[in-house]
C-alpha cells in the first residue's frame, strides 16, 4: 500500500496556532504518511531558529481561558501579552505538552518536508540565515504539485 500523503499550509505565528500544524505533521509522519508543510505569511515564524518569540495575546481572544475574568482594558496594558504567554507555556510544560522546538525537531527527524514561501520571505525581508537548516523554498505551484496528490490537505 502506498503511503498516504498530507499537505498543510501554516499561515499563523501565534503560540496557539503554531501547534496544530506541527502536531498533525509529526503524528502523520509517525503513522508512515508523507507530509509537507508550506509556511507562508506569519507561519514563517515557525521556521525561525529561535522560537522563543512566539507568543499568545489576550487581546481579541475572548475564548482564551483566564484564571480570573479580565476586562479588555486590562488586557491591553503593557506586559499582558508576555504574562499570558509565560502562563500558557508554564501550563503546557506542566501538562506534558511538547515545546514547539521539540515538535519541530520530531517533524524533521521524521522527514516532514518544510517549505518556506519565497514570496512572503521576500515580503517580510527575512534572511535565510534566520531560518533552520533543511528547509526548501518555493511557491504556490510547487505546493500545488504535492497538494494535488494528497489524501489530506489543510489550511491552518
Amino acid at each position: 500500500m502506498a503511503a498516504k500523503k498530507m499537505a498543510i499550509i501554516a499561515t499563523k505565528g501565534a503560540l496557539d496556532m503554531a501547534y496544530p500544524p506541527l502536531i498533525l505533521a509529526s503524528t502523520a509522519a509517525a503513522l508512515g504518511w508523507e507530509v509537507q508543510i508550506f509556511f507562508t505569511f506569519y507561519g514563517l515564524q515557525l521556521l525561525r531558529k529561535d522560537l522563543s518569540g512566539i507568543a499568545i495575546s489576550p487581546i481579541g481572544n475572548p475564548a482564551m481561558p483566564m484564571p480570573v475574568p479580565m476586562p479588555v482594558v486590562v488586557s491591553i496594558l503593557p506586559g499582558m501579552e508576555a504574562m499570558a504567554t509565560s502562563m500558557m507555556k508554564a501550563k503546557m510544560k506542566k501538562k506534558g505538552v511538547a515545546s514547539l522546538t521539540e515538535l519541530r525537531d520530531l517533524c524533521q527527524e521524521a522527514d516532514v518536508k518544510f517549505i518556506a514561501c519565497q514570496m512572503t520571505v521576500d515580503l517580510f525581508e527575512f534572511d535565510k540565515s534566520d531560518f533552520i537548516d533543511g528547509i526548501e523554498y518555493g511557491g504556490a505551484a510547487m505546493f500545488m504539485k504535492f497538494a494535488g496528490e494528497t489524501d489530506v490537505c489543510l489550511f491552518i
Binding site: I23, S26, T27, A30, L31, G96, V97, A98, L106, A110
Partner: protein
C-alpha cells in the same frame, strides 16, 4: 504479558506518546513486543488508531497502577 522492550510515556501529552512509540519501535525486530505505559487518556483511542494504520498489532491493552498500558507487536 511478555515483552521485549518498554517505553514509558507517562506525563507526555498528545502527540508525544504516539510519535515516541513510533521511534521506540524503529529499532525492534518484527514480531517482538513493545510495552508502552502512558497517562494521557487520549492515548487509548490514539494507540488503537496507530496500530490499525501502521500494521503493528495492539495485542493487549489495559490499566496498571492507574496508568494505561499497551502491548504492540512490531509488524
Amino acid at each position: 504479558m511478555q515483552f521485549d522492550k518498554e517505553f514509558d510515556a507517562s506525563g507526555l501529552a498528545c502527540p508525544l506518546p504516539i510519535v515516541k512509540t513510533k521511534k521506540a519501535l524503529a529499532d525492534m525486530a518484527p514480531g517482538t513486543v513493545l510495552k508502552v505505559v502512558a497517562t494521557d487518556p487520549g492515548s487509548v483511542a490514539d494507540m488503537a488508531a496507530f496500530a490499525e494504520q501502521t500494521g503493528n498489532a495492539l495485542v493487549e491493552s489495559g490499566t496498571e497502577n492507574n496508568k494505561f498500558v499497551f502491548f504492540l507487536k512490531k509488524a
